[in-house]
């Protein structure tokens, strides 16, 4: 697999505390990578290491095939908005963008106007940033991250503190950037339902460790509606289910089978299993919300 961003055992330690512990992340071109984790899980620290803001205690980062010191040559292909947007409050949105344009060697005057338009701030470009709402600042932060036409965008909690309309606007902007410019986006958040609307791949980080990496399809598969049957002897039920023509099912544990198709066939299953003398302890349809899935993975239901 051709990954544009890879980390190998990436570790960051503060004193005795490992904020990021041996993380192996893999991101492909064009992915919208949803980086999920609770507060303090290590998301921001991880993104800071990718952006070159924090040093690595151990491990390695590979971006576009470059590692070690060579990485500086490709870091300019990364745009980032980490924590609060870094803006000069006494300057206008235009001037904030202009400074980064100068750093990036961009001289085209219409460039800034285009960025402002892209993030929906074309009418307030000459307004001082200190008079902006939180949502406007966040969008300007994204605009700033887009200066220099990055191939990878790192967005750390970009929808934090935004109202529903602001969240929708940011989501729309991210999706447009991904589809129109093929920008690879790594977006961290703990608002899972929102992330699930845009992410194509997920990485779940807990206590500094990346505990699961899965695609959107895999996640939906894991969370989708299913028939859950609890039996005394699941192994006896398998041939019966095969004879009934079920193909999408799996044995989850020693007493449970989950079926992912023909969800209205519970009465038939009961009749067939009973006819074979297989005792059913319970049978029902169930759906797992993404949030529940995440909480189950991180042990949140027990210690949250």
């Amino acid at each position: 697999m051709n990954y544009i961003l890879k980390t190998n055992n990436l570790t960051k330690q503060y004193g005795r505390q490992k904020a990021v512990n041996c993380v192996n992340m893999n991101v492909k071109q064009g992915d919208i990578y949803g980086f999920i984790g609770r507060n303090g899980a290590g998301k921001t620290t991880f993104l800071k290491m990718i952006a070159g803001m924090a040093s690595l205690t151990d491990g390695e980062i590979e971006i576009y095939g470059k590692k070690g010191r060579d990485i500086n040559s490709v870091r300019s292909r990364i745009g980032c908005l980490i924590e609060a947007p870094g803006l000069y409050p006494n300057m206008t949105a235009y001037d904030n963008l202009k400074i980064k344009c100068i750093v990036s060697g961009i001289r085209d005057k219409s460039y800034i106007e285009n960025i402002l338009k892209l993030v929906g701030l074309e009418n307030v470009g000459r307004k001082k940033v200190k008079n902006f709402s939180l949502g406007m600042k966040q969008r300007l932060g994204i605009g700033l991250a887009l200066v220099g036409d990055p191939d990878i965008l790192l967005l750390d909690e970009p929808i934090n503190g935004l109202d529903p309309q602001g969240i929708a606007e940011v989501r729309e902007t991210i999706q447009r950037l991904n589809s129109e410019r093929n920008i690879t986006i790594i977006i961290s958040s703990h608002i899972l339902e929102e992330l699930s609307k845009i992410a194509t791949v997920y990485g779940i980080i807990h206590k500094g460790e990346l505990i699961r990496e899965l695609t959107n399809e895999e996640l939906l598969e894991e969370c989708k509606e299913r028939i859950a049957i609890t039996l005394e002897a699941p192994e006896k039920a398998v041939p019966v289910l095969d004879r009934m023509g079920f193909t999408k099912y799996k044995t989850v544990d020693s007493r449970t089978i989950e079926i992912y198709e023909r969800l209205d066939s519970i009465p038939d299953i009961i009749i067939q299993l009973s006819a074979e003398g297989i005792r059913i302890l319970s049978i029902n349809t169930k759906t797992e919300a993404i949030e529940d899935y995440f909480l189950n993975l991180t042990g949140g239901k027990h210690n949250g």
Partner: protein, 289 residues
């Protein structure tokens, strides 16, 4: 690198503190010759009153002769020891006013980038962080140059308006003096830059800068000198203050002989190199918050 410096200069020109501090610098440059003029006028008035009184006394008894009248009509700055425009400029520089404003500016300007988090927005485009330190330093140096120019222009214009026929002074000596002062001020700017990177606090760095430029550091330096004499066997006349940036800024005079110029030159050069190297090391090693 050039783009980074350009961006810092753009920010400098867009910052309100740049203009506020340049106006204050100009104000202080005007104040100095103005005070001289006021004192001169008061002195002249008092002197004229004394002469008049003496003349009155002469008329009364008809015997006393007083030579004060020979002074009348002459200005003190026309004499062999008269004050020059370069004296006014020098007084503002060695009085550490510019140093004070420079330390405020350096803390605000460099600290602003860190405090507002803008550094996070540009870091991926910077490459090596030493470049960022160099761009910061270049902008502060540019501001220092502006302060020197404003001080020069304001002092010159005010002096020419207030004092008829005032001379500039020794141009060659003055140029050397200003170059050495620029170097010493640069060393101080590098020290403030180091403090900002190290403490990550504009307020703390600025406070330390103000204290040092106001000469408050001399207490600590005196104490350290005393300890060096007592415990390290340094000669009894040993004083660390001779080697500090602020002391050299205050002690330097135009037309100083070459042997007296060497110490401020070394202090300025070594200070700039040392503090800037440490600033680079600090910004490279510390994580950006």
């Amino acid at each position: 690198m050039a783009n980074l410096i350009k961006s810092e200069l753009y920010r400098l020109l867009k910052s309100r503190c740049t203009y506020v501090l340049l106006i204050i610098t100009a104000f202080f440059a005007v104040i100095n010759p103005l005070m001289y003029k006021t004192i001169d006028m008061i002195a002249m008035e008092e002197m004229e009153a004394v002469v008049a009184k003496m003349e009155e006394s002469v008329e009364d008894d008809g015997t006393l002769t007083v030579g004060f009248s020979s002074y009348g009509g002459e200005k003190w700055y026309d004499s062999e020891y008269s004050v020059t425009i370069s004296d006014f400029i020098q007084e503002n520089v060695s009085g550490a006013f510019i140093l004070l404003f420079l330390s405020i500016f350096a803390a605000l300007f460099i600290g602003g980038e860190i405090k507002h988090g803008y550094v996070k927005s540009i870091l991926t485009h910077v490459g090596n962080r030493r470049r960022l330190a160099l761009a910061n330093f270049a902008a502060v140096e540019f501001m220092l140059l502006l302060m020197f120019i404003v001080n020069f222009a304001s002092s010159t214009v005010t002096s020419l308006i207030l004092f008829d026929g005032i001379r500039f002074g020794e141009t060659g000596d003055f140029m050397i003096y200003m170059l050495v002062q620029f170097l010493l001020h640069s060393a101080f700017a590098a020290l403030i830059q180091l403090l900002v990177y190290l403490l990550r606090s504009t307020a703390f760095s600025m406070t330390i800068g103000i204290c040092l430029s106001s000469g408050m550091g001399s207490l600590i330096i005196s104490l350290l000198s005393l300890l060096a004499v007592k415990f390290l066997g340094a000669p009894s006349d040993f004083s660390l203050s001779k080697y500090t940036i602020t002391e050299n800024i205050m002690a330097l005079i135009p037309g100083a002989p070459a042997d007296e110029l060497s110490l401020p030159l070394i202090v300025g050069f070594a200070g700039t190199l040392l503090f800037f190297a440490l600033a680079c090391f600090t910004i490279e090693k510390k994580d950006i918050r």
